[in-house]
Symmetry: C2
Subunit: 152 residues, 2 copies
DNA sequence: CTGAATGCGGACCTATCCAGTCGGATATTC
DNA sequence: GAATATCCGACTGGATAGGTCCGCATTCAG
Protein backbone atom coordinates (compact mmCIF):
# COMPACT_ATOMS: atom_id res chain seq x y z
CA UNK A 1 0.00 0.00 0.00
CA UNK A 2 1.02 3.58 -0.61
CA UNK A 3 4.05 2.41 -2.47
CA UNK A 4 5.88 3.99 -5.35
CA UNK A 5 6.14 1.68 -8.32
CA UNK A 6 9.56 0.53 -9.29
CA UNK A 7 9.04 2.06 -12.68
CA UNK A 8 8.73 5.48 -11.12
CA UNK A 9 11.68 4.62 -8.96
CA UNK A 10 13.76 3.71 -11.98
CA UNK A 11 12.61 6.79 -13.79
CA UNK A 12 13.81 9.02 -10.99
CA UNK A 13 17.13 7.25 -10.87
CA UNK A 14 17.59 7.68 -14.59
CA UNK A 15 16.74 11.36 -14.55
CA UNK A 16 19.09 11.89 -11.70
CA UNK A 17 21.80 10.12 -13.63
CA UNK A 18 21.21 12.32 -16.63
CA UNK A 19 21.29 15.39 -14.42
CA UNK A 20 24.66 14.28 -13.11
CA UNK A 21 26.12 13.98 -16.57
CA UNK A 22 25.29 17.25 -18.27
CA UNK A 23 28.42 17.03 -20.41
CA UNK A 24 27.09 14.03 -22.32
CA UNK A 25 25.10 14.90 -25.40
CA UNK A 26 22.95 11.85 -24.92
CA UNK A 27 23.00 8.68 -22.89
CA UNK A 28 21.40 5.50 -24.13
CA UNK A 29 18.92 3.56 -22.06
CA UNK A 30 21.44 0.79 -21.86
CA UNK A 31 24.07 3.09 -20.40
CA UNK A 32 21.82 4.10 -17.56
CA UNK A 33 20.50 0.60 -17.02
CA UNK A 34 24.02 -0.78 -16.73
CA UNK A 35 25.04 1.95 -14.34
CA UNK A 36 22.47 0.83 -11.81
CA UNK A 37 21.61 -2.74 -12.73
CA UNK A 38 18.12 -1.95 -13.92
CA UNK A 39 16.63 -4.28 -16.56
CA UNK A 40 17.54 -2.50 -19.77
CA UNK A 41 14.39 -3.16 -21.75
CA UNK A 42 12.20 -2.05 -18.93
CA UNK A 43 14.09 1.16 -18.45
CA UNK A 44 13.89 1.75 -22.17
CA UNK A 45 10.13 1.77 -22.03
CA UNK A 46 10.14 4.06 -19.05
CA UNK A 47 12.35 6.56 -20.80
CA UNK A 48 10.12 6.38 -23.82
CA UNK A 49 7.17 7.33 -21.69
CA UNK A 50 9.06 10.22 -20.20
CA UNK A 51 9.96 11.35 -23.70
CA UNK A 52 6.36 11.20 -24.81
CA UNK A 53 5.41 13.40 -21.86
CA UNK A 54 8.05 15.92 -22.78
CA UNK A 55 10.45 15.42 -19.90
CA UNK A 56 13.21 14.03 -22.09
CA UNK A 57 14.47 14.52 -25.60
CA UNK A 58 15.49 11.46 -27.53
CA UNK A 59 17.64 10.82 -30.51
CA UNK A 60 17.79 7.54 -32.39
CA UNK A 61 20.71 6.06 -34.21
CA UNK A 62 24.29 5.51 -33.23
CA UNK A 63 25.48 7.64 -30.32
CA UNK A 64 21.86 8.48 -29.75
CA UNK A 65 20.06 8.34 -26.48
CA UNK A 66 18.24 10.60 -24.09
CA UNK A 67 18.84 13.98 -22.54
CA UNK A 68 16.85 16.15 -20.20
CA UNK A 69 14.36 18.33 -22.02
CA UNK A 70 14.66 21.06 -19.39
CA UNK A 71 16.95 22.11 -16.66
CA UNK A 72 17.13 19.59 -13.84
CA UNK A 73 15.66 22.01 -11.37
CA UNK A 74 12.63 22.55 -13.57
CA UNK A 75 11.59 18.93 -13.40
CA UNK A 76 9.74 17.82 -10.30
CA UNK A 77 9.48 14.32 -8.93
CA UNK A 78 5.75 14.73 -9.17
CA UNK A 79 5.90 15.14 -12.93
CA UNK A 80 8.00 12.05 -13.26
CA UNK A 81 5.61 9.95 -11.25
CA UNK A 82 2.68 11.40 -13.10
CA UNK A 83 4.25 10.62 -16.45
CA UNK A 84 5.04 7.05 -15.54
CA UNK A 85 2.23 5.89 -13.31
CA UNK A 86 -0.55 8.19 -14.40
CA UNK A 87 -2.70 10.40 -12.20
CA UNK A 88 -1.88 10.37 -8.57
CA UNK A 89 -4.51 9.42 -5.99
CA UNK A 90 -4.13 7.79 -2.64
CA UNK A 91 -7.74 6.67 -2.58
CA UNK A 92 -9.46 4.24 -4.89
CA UNK A 93 -12.46 6.46 -5.53
CA UNK A 94 -10.94 8.10 -8.54
CA UNK A 95 -9.43 5.23 -10.38
CA UNK A 96 -11.10 6.24 -13.61
CA UNK A 97 -12.49 2.81 -14.35
CA UNK A 98 -14.68 1.32 -11.71
CA UNK A 99 -14.65 3.91 -8.98
CA UNK A 100 -15.43 2.81 -5.48
CA UNK A 101 -19.20 2.56 -5.38
CA UNK A 102 -19.54 3.89 -1.87
CA UNK A 103 -18.31 7.25 -2.97
CA UNK A 104 -21.65 8.91 -2.20
CA UNK A 105 -21.92 7.58 1.33
CA UNK A 106 -18.24 7.89 2.10
CA UNK A 107 -17.48 10.60 4.60
CA UNK A 108 -13.74 10.54 4.61
CA UNK A 109 -12.93 11.00 0.98
CA UNK A 110 -12.88 14.74 1.25
CA UNK A 111 -10.36 14.86 4.10
CA UNK A 112 -8.31 12.24 2.32
CA UNK A 113 -8.35 14.31 -0.83
CA UNK A 114 -6.61 17.04 1.14
CA UNK A 115 -4.00 14.63 2.34
CA UNK A 116 -3.59 13.65 -1.26
CA UNK A 117 -2.97 17.22 -2.27
CA UNK A 118 -0.50 17.67 0.51
CA UNK A 119 1.54 14.72 -0.60
CA UNK A 120 1.37 15.91 -4.17
CA UNK A 121 2.66 19.25 -2.97
CA UNK A 122 5.60 17.61 -1.28
CA UNK A 123 6.48 15.75 -4.43
CA UNK A 124 6.12 18.87 -6.53
CA UNK A 125 8.58 20.64 -4.29
CA UNK A 126 11.31 18.15 -5.10
CA UNK A 127 13.26 18.60 -8.29
CA UNK A 128 15.60 16.24 -10.02
CA UNK A 129 18.30 18.72 -9.17
CA UNK A 130 17.54 18.20 -5.49
CA UNK A 131 18.04 14.49 -5.87
CA UNK A 132 21.31 14.92 -7.71
CA UNK A 133 22.67 17.56 -5.40
CA UNK A 134 22.07 15.58 -2.32
CA UNK A 135 24.91 13.19 -3.06
CA UNK A 136 26.69 12.32 0.18
CA UNK A 137 25.86 15.67 1.55
CA UNK A 138 24.45 16.28 4.99
CA UNK A 139 20.95 17.61 5.17
CA UNK A 140 20.75 21.28 4.51
CA UNK A 141 18.13 22.37 6.96
CA UNK A 142 17.86 25.85 5.56
CA UNK A 143 17.07 24.84 2.04
CA UNK A 144 13.66 26.34 2.39
CA UNK A 145 12.04 24.80 -0.61
CA UNK A 146 9.74 22.55 1.28
CA UNK A 147 7.37 23.93 3.79
CA UNK A 148 4.01 22.40 3.39
CA UNK A 149 0.93 23.52 5.18
CA UNK A 150 -1.68 20.88 5.66
CA UNK A 151 -5.05 22.42 6.27
CA UNK A 152 -7.42 19.66 7.03
CA UNK B 1 0.65 3.07 -6.99
CA UNK B 2 0.84 5.09 -3.83
CA UNK B 3 -2.67 4.06 -2.99
CA UNK B 4 -4.25 3.46 0.36
CA UNK B 5 -5.78 0.01 0.63
CA UNK B 6 -9.51 -0.16 0.98
CA UNK B 7 -9.04 -1.92 4.26
CA UNK B 8 -7.31 1.11 5.69
CA UNK B 9 -9.97 3.21 4.12
CA UNK B 10 -12.71 1.21 5.76
CA UNK B 11 -10.87 1.26 9.03
CA UNK B 12 -10.74 5.03 9.03
CA UNK B 13 -14.41 5.25 8.20
CA UNK B 14 -15.29 2.91 11.00
CA UNK B 15 -13.23 4.78 13.55
CA UNK B 16 -14.74 8.02 12.45
CA UNK B 17 -18.18 6.52 12.85
CA UNK B 18 -17.35 5.38 16.34
CA UNK B 19 -16.01 8.82 17.15
CA UNK B 20 -19.28 10.32 16.02
CA UNK B 21 -21.30 8.10 18.32
CA UNK B 22 -19.68 8.47 21.69
CA UNK B 23 -22.97 7.86 23.44
CA UNK B 24 -23.11 4.26 22.27
CA UNK B 25 -21.47 1.79 24.60
CA UNK B 26 -20.49 -0.39 21.72
CA UNK B 27 -21.30 -0.73 18.05
CA UNK B 28 -21.12 -4.04 16.25
CA UNK B 29 -19.17 -4.51 13.07
CA UNK B 30 -22.43 -5.08 11.30
CA UNK B 31 -23.82 -1.74 12.47
CA UNK B 32 -20.92 0.15 10.97
CA UNK B 33 -20.85 -1.95 7.85
CA UNK B 34 -24.51 -1.30 7.19
CA UNK B 35 -24.12 2.39 7.80
CA UNK B 36 -21.71 2.71 4.91
CA UNK B 37 -22.31 -0.33 2.74
CA UNK B 38 -19.01 -1.97 3.57
CA UNK B 39 -18.88 -5.78 3.34
CA UNK B 40 -19.63 -6.81 6.90
CA UNK B 41 -17.29 -9.75 7.20
CA UNK B 42 -14.41 -7.79 5.81
CA UNK B 43 -14.96 -4.92 8.18
CA UNK B 44 -15.17 -7.39 11.02
CA UNK B 45 -11.68 -8.58 10.33
CA UNK B 46 -10.39 -5.06 10.09
CA UNK B 47 -11.87 -4.13 13.44
CA UNK B 48 -10.35 -7.24 14.91
CA UNK B 49 -6.95 -6.13 13.74
CA UNK B 50 -7.46 -2.70 15.20
CA UNK B 51 -8.47 -4.32 18.47
CA UNK B 52 -5.38 -6.47 18.51
CA UNK B 53 -3.25 -3.36 18.04
CA UNK B 54 -4.96 -1.65 20.92
CA UNK B 55 -6.88 1.02 19.04
CA UNK B 56 -10.25 -0.45 19.90
CA UNK B 57 -11.84 -2.30 22.76
CA UNK B 58 -14.15 -5.16 21.93
CA UNK B 59 -16.87 -6.97 23.72
CA UNK B 60 -18.45 -10.19 22.53
CA UNK B 61 -21.98 -11.34 23.09
CA UNK B 62 -25.29 -9.61 22.68
CA UNK B 63 -25.14 -5.85 22.56
CA UNK B 64 -21.45 -6.25 22.20
CA UNK B 65 -19.29 -4.57 19.65
CA UNK B 66 -16.43 -2.13 19.46
CA UNK B 67 -15.56 1.15 21.05
CA UNK B 68 -12.57 3.45 20.80
CA UNK B 69 -9.84 2.50 23.21
CA UNK B 70 -8.72 6.10 23.54
CA UNK B 71 -10.03 9.54 22.89
CA UNK B 72 -10.61 10.21 19.22
CA UNK B 73 -8.01 12.94 19.18
CA UNK B 74 -5.39 10.56 20.52
CA UNK B 75 -5.66 8.23 17.56
CA UNK B 76 -3.83 9.23 14.42
CA UNK B 77 -4.57 8.13 10.90
CA UNK B 78 -1.03 6.89 10.78
CA UNK B 79 -1.65 4.41 13.56
CA UNK B 80 -4.71 3.09 11.82
CA UNK B 81 -2.90 2.54 8.58
CA UNK B 82 0.01 1.00 10.40
CA UNK B 83 -2.25 -1.38 12.27
CA UNK B 84 -4.07 -2.51 9.17
CA UNK B 85 -1.52 -2.51 6.40
CA UNK B 86 1.67 -2.92 8.37
CA UNK B 87 4.77 -0.77 8.23
CA UNK B 88 4.61 2.19 5.96
CA UNK B 89 7.14 2.63 3.16
CA UNK B 90 6.77 4.30 -0.19
CA UNK B 91 9.73 2.44 -1.63
CA UNK B 92 10.10 -1.27 -2.20
CA UNK B 93 13.52 -1.50 -0.62
CA UNK B 94 12.17 -2.27 2.80
CA UNK B 95 9.45 -4.73 2.11
CA UNK B 96 10.76 -7.13 4.71
CA UNK B 97 10.77 -10.14 2.46
CA UNK B 98 12.74 -9.82 -0.71
CA UNK B 99 14.06 -6.29 -0.59
CA UNK B 100 14.98 -4.61 -3.82
CA UNK B 101 18.40 -5.99 -4.71
CA UNK B 102 19.72 -2.74 -6.10
CA UNK B 103 19.59 -1.18 -2.70
CA UNK B 104 23.38 -0.83 -2.55
CA UNK B 105 23.75 0.92 -5.90
CA UNK B 106 20.57 2.94 -5.56
CA UNK B 107 21.24 6.62 -5.07
CA UNK B 108 17.76 7.89 -4.51
CA UNK B 109 16.58 5.77 -1.66
CA UNK B 110 17.88 8.16 0.93
CA UNK B 111 16.06 11.20 -0.44
CA UNK B 112 12.98 9.08 -0.86
CA UNK B 113 13.23 7.96 2.72
CA UNK B 114 12.88 11.57 3.74
CA UNK B 115 9.82 11.96 1.59
CA UNK B 116 8.52 8.88 3.30
CA UNK B 117 9.02 10.43 6.69
CA UNK B 118 7.34 13.59 5.60
CA UNK B 119 4.26 11.76 4.47
CA UNK B 120 4.24 9.75 7.67
CA UNK B 121 4.40 13.03 9.54
CA UNK B 122 1.39 14.33 7.70
CA UNK B 123 -0.58 11.23 8.54
CA UNK B 124 0.50 11.37 12.15
CA UNK B 125 -0.80 14.90 12.38
CA UNK B 126 -4.32 13.80 11.51
CA UNK B 127 -6.48 12.38 14.26
CA UNK B 128 -9.75 10.55 14.01
CA UNK B 129 -11.24 13.56 15.70
CA UNK B 130 -10.11 15.70 12.81
CA UNK B 131 -11.92 13.45 10.38
CA UNK B 132 -15.09 13.48 12.42
CA UNK B 133 -15.06 17.21 13.08
CA UNK B 134 -14.70 18.12 9.51
CA UNK B 135 -18.27 17.23 8.66
CA UNK B 136 -19.62 19.74 6.13
CA UNK B 137 -17.46 22.39 7.57
CA UNK B 138 -15.39 24.78 5.49
CA UNK B 139 -11.67 24.47 5.85
CA UNK B 140 -10.35 26.12 8.93
CA UNK B 141 -7.13 27.62 7.73
CA UNK B 142 -5.94 28.50 11.19
CA UNK B 143 -6.18 25.03 12.60
CA UNK B 144 -2.47 24.93 12.99
CA UNK B 145 -2.05 21.27 13.56
CA UNK B 146 -0.34 20.52 10.33
CA UNK B 147 2.74 22.35 9.34
CA UNK B 148 5.25 20.01 7.94
CA UNK B 149 8.78 20.91 7.07
CA UNK B 150 10.36 18.83 4.39
CA UNK B 151 14.10 18.99 4.57
CA UNK B 152 15.45 17.13 1.65
C1' DC C 1 24.85 1.09 -49.32
C1' DT C 2 24.88 -1.51 -45.64
C1' DG C 3 24.94 -2.68 -41.04
C1' DA C 4 25.28 -1.66 -36.19
C1' DA C 5 23.36 1.00 -32.70
C1' DT C 6 19.65 3.08 -31.00
C1' DG C 7 14.71 4.54 -30.06
C1' DC C 8 9.70 3.05 -30.52
C1' DG C 9 5.75 0.33 -29.38
C1' DG C 10 2.80 -3.48 -28.89
C1' DA C 11 1.81 -8.20 -27.13
C1' DC C 12 2.62 -11.16 -23.71
C1' DC C 13 3.76 -13.73 -19.46
C1' DT C 14 4.08 -14.31 -14.45
C1' DA C 15 4.16 -13.52 -9.53
C1' DT C 16 2.26 -10.97 -6.05
C1' DC C 17 -1.12 -8.82 -3.58
C1' DC C 18 -5.79 -7.04 -2.56
C1' DA C 19 -10.70 -7.55 -1.75
C1' DG C 20 -13.88 -10.33 -0.45
C1' DT C 21 -15.92 -14.98 1.15
C1' DC C 22 -16.49 -19.06 3.94
C1' DG C 23 -16.56 -22.01 7.84
C1' DG C 24 -16.09 -22.80 12.30
C1' DA C 25 -14.81 -21.75 17.22
C1' DT C 26 -15.49 -18.97 21.37
C1' DA C 27 -17.60 -15.59 24.38
C1' DT C 28 -21.69 -13.13 26.39
C1' DT C 29 -26.29 -12.09 27.28
C1' DC C 30 -31.13 -13.04 27.83
C1' DG D 1 -29.72 -22.99 25.34
C1' DA D 2 -30.61 -19.88 21.71
C1' DA D 3 -29.33 -15.56 19.75
C1' DT D 4 -25.86 -12.35 18.98
C1' DA D 5 -21.28 -11.11 18.91
C1' DT D 6 -16.26 -11.33 18.39
C1' DC D 7 -12.39 -14.17 16.81
C1' DC D 8 -9.33 -16.62 13.43
C1' DG D 9 -7.45 -19.13 9.64
C1' DA D 10 -7.97 -20.68 4.87
C1' DC D 11 -9.36 -19.89 0.41
C1' DT D 12 -10.49 -17.83 -4.18
C1' DG D 13 -10.82 -14.59 -8.07
C1' DG D 14 -9.25 -10.63 -10.18
C1' DA D 15 -6.24 -6.75 -10.76
C1' DT D 16 -1.83 -4.86 -11.23
C1' DA D 17 3.09 -4.55 -11.16
C1' DG D 18 7.39 -6.12 -13.05
C1' DG D 19 9.58 -7.89 -16.64
C1' DT D 20 10.36 -10.15 -21.40
C1' DC D 21 10.11 -10.65 -26.40
C1' DC D 22 9.88 -9.40 -31.01
C1' DG D 23 9.51 -6.58 -35.02
C1' DC D 24 9.89 -1.96 -36.87
C1' DA D 25 11.80 2.83 -37.63
C1' DT D 26 15.64 6.03 -37.40
C1' DT D 27 20.29 7.49 -37.58
C1' DC D 28 25.04 7.38 -38.55
C1' DA D 29 29.86 5.30 -39.50
C1' DG D 30 32.63 3.11 -42.72
S1 LIG E 1 -15.17 6.75 -1.66
FE1 LIG E 1 -14.45 6.57 0.44
S2 LIG E 1 -14.21 4.39 0.63
FE2 LIG E 1 -14.43 4.64 -1.56
S3 LIG E 1 -12.29 4.86 -2.16
FE3 LIG E 1 -12.96 6.97 -1.83
S4 LIG E 1 -12.33 7.28 0.27
FE4 LIG E 1 -12.17 5.07 0.04
S1 LIG F 1 16.72 0.57 -3.43
FE1 LIG F 1 16.34 2.28 -4.80
S2 LIG F 1 15.40 1.21 -6.51
FE2 LIG F 1 15.32 -0.31 -4.91
S3 LIG F 1 13.34 0.11 -4.01
FE3 LIG F 1 14.73 1.35 -2.78
S4 LIG F 1 14.61 3.30 -3.83
FE4 LIG F 1 13.66 1.90 -5.27
Amino acid sequence: MLKLTKKADYGLMALKYLAEHPEAVALSAKDVADAYGIPAQLLAKILQQLTKKGLLRSHAGMNGGYALARDAREISAFEVILAIDGPFFITSCTKGTKACELTPSCTIKEPLARVNETIAGVLKSISIQDLAEHEHQPAKASEGHGLVALTL
